[in-house]
Amino acid sequence: MKLLNHKMATVFTVLGALLVLVAPQYLKNYGIYLLTYWLIFIIATMGLNLTIGYAGQKSLGHAAFFGIGAYTVAILMKAGFSFWLGLPAAALICFAVGLILGFPALRVQAIYLAFATLGFNTAIWLVMRNEEWLTGGTFGINNIARPAILGYSLEANRPYYYFVLVVTLILSGLLWGLLRSPWGKAFRALRDNPIRAESLGVDIRNYTLLSFAIGAVYAGIAGALFASLVQFIEPAPFAVGASIMMYLMVVVGGAGYFLGPIVGAAVGVVLPEWLRDVPFVSNWYLPMFGAAVVVLMVWLPDGLLSIPDRIRDRRAARDASAARKIAAGVAATKRVGAAS
């Protein structure tokens, strides 16, 4: 995967590793909370990146899975079950519902699929809001406990952060492995040209369904971690607006770039929080963000992580044209030489 040149990639990896490992030691509670929030959105948008960026399925229903994951854990824990049952249950339920949501994608694509998934998100959100016996309605579910692992409590923000970090790393590793396997190529083939893919034996039906289901699992796990992080959930964070925001995070970071969600989630959830206390900026963050997205879509439709590729392409084009000029010059000199 060509992201940056190797030296720069190493520098960024080391800096990034230092940041995520050491930063919590120097941050106050809220800072740690915010970093955890960021990691959770990285997990969710990694899944969405698989669905949109790699498999090319335009989904606007991702927040529904995020919510299903959160409510699954919250409801099960309220019923007295452990978080460690809730987490895999959230993943499994999202996998199943994700498969089902994949079916419309077999019939419709692009904007029509986006609307179908948006409708699905609205339906799930209405269940969360109206089925009070199950979800607590608009009052939500509060006092969701954080889990303990091998007797070690994750109640405090710092240990919970490291727990979420480990989950993020495991899920990134799994996705990386999946995308490097033949599955990664099949998903990309489905995105680039489904008709050709099918004619070459790619089972586009299975890969379409699985791109939704696996993406949904990531959202479900993220939702489960989210419920335990915020310890109080209500329907608002899982509405259609959140799905659109997640879609934006994928696009801003760079759809189909493995590290896109890291950048996208930072821009989508961390930056606005950071800038909240900056006078002037705070009131204008959303309009500024909106304007920035418009500018980005015009100038960098492939997202922020496409910048290195852009620079490299431009350099290659410049070198090629310089080489042509030199070649033309040499040829001209030769002609002159031959003539004289």
Partner: protein, 252 residues
């Protein structure tokens, strides 16, 4: 007598009142390059799409190696060893040329589950490289296919159809839009692939093409279609000498 690879019997397809294909029958023998020519609207593409499962014919039977494949989906046909190219360019634009070739055959190896744990190139790297060299596209092998010139993409497009070593390949206008200097190149590539000893057998192709020199030079037998019917089937020499064909299509 050897059995045909492809046997089409009395194929019919209508769109409303218009009969696009009205009872077409032909056989393609193993190792044969079978050309299909005819004016626009003569039903070539409808016949092609019926054989390839893109549309379902109203009547008739299609057999591959003696087995009925009528109405099978493109996916099933690919699994049974039918490769194809399309009239227009159909490559995976954002994937590299090499990955385009690998993905063109990977789904024929193992099960979906086993492929989850297979190496990225599915063990097809060497084969992809061999085709890349044969098609002389080594210098662009690492580039996204969508960034290539039209002619280069056409070569990638054709190479992809051969990655999975299909029993039968249907090529829909392999020379459409191609620079005349490349037409000869494509012709010799197809002749090479037809003879390819690495295949373990000769390749069997069906080729739709408007470029008459190309068809006459490449194909062993040619079928002429006019208004949804077969006007004649024969060797290039026979077709050239057929008076009906001359009147209806080739002109003087």
């Amino acid at each position: 007598m050897t059995n045909p690879v492809l046997k089409v019997t009395d194929l019919k397809k209508s769109y409303g009142a218009i009969q696009a294909v009205g009872g077409v029958s032909f056989e393609v023998m193993p190792g044969e390059i079978f050309g299909v020519i005819g004016p626009n609207g003569s039903g070539k593409t409808t016949m092609f799409n019926s054989v390839l499962g893109q549309i379902s014919p109203d009547a008739g039977a299609i057999e591959l190696n003696g087995k009925n494949i009528t109405g099978l989906s493109p996916l099933e046909l690919s699994r049974r060893g039918v490769g194809r190219t399309f009239q227009t360019l159909q490559v995976f634009g954002k994937m590299t040329v090499r990955d385009n070739l690998i993905v063109a055959a990977q789904e024929h190896k193992g099960s979906m589950l086993s492929r989850m744990f297979s190496p990225g190139d599915s063990g097809l790297g060497a084969k992809a490289d061999a085709l890349i060299d044969q098609f002389r596209i080594r210098h662009v092998a690492g580039k996204p296919a969508g960034t290539l010139s039209y002619g280069q993409q056409k070569l990638v497009d054709i190479a992809m159809a051969f990655m999975a070593e299909p029993d039968l390949v249907l090529l829909d206008e392999p020379c459409a839009g191609v620079n005349p200097s490349l037409v000869g190149g494509i012709s010799s590539l197809l002749k090479e692939l037809n003879q390819n000893p690495k295949f373990g057998r000769k390749g069997s192709f069906v080729v739709i093409e408007h470029n008459m020199d190309f068809v006459m030079d490449l194909c062993h037998r040619i079928m002429v279609m006019v208004e949804g019917r077969v006007l004649a089937i024969g060797t290039p020499a026979e077709i050239r000498g057929n008076k009906e064909v001359l009147d209806a299509y080739l002109g003087n």
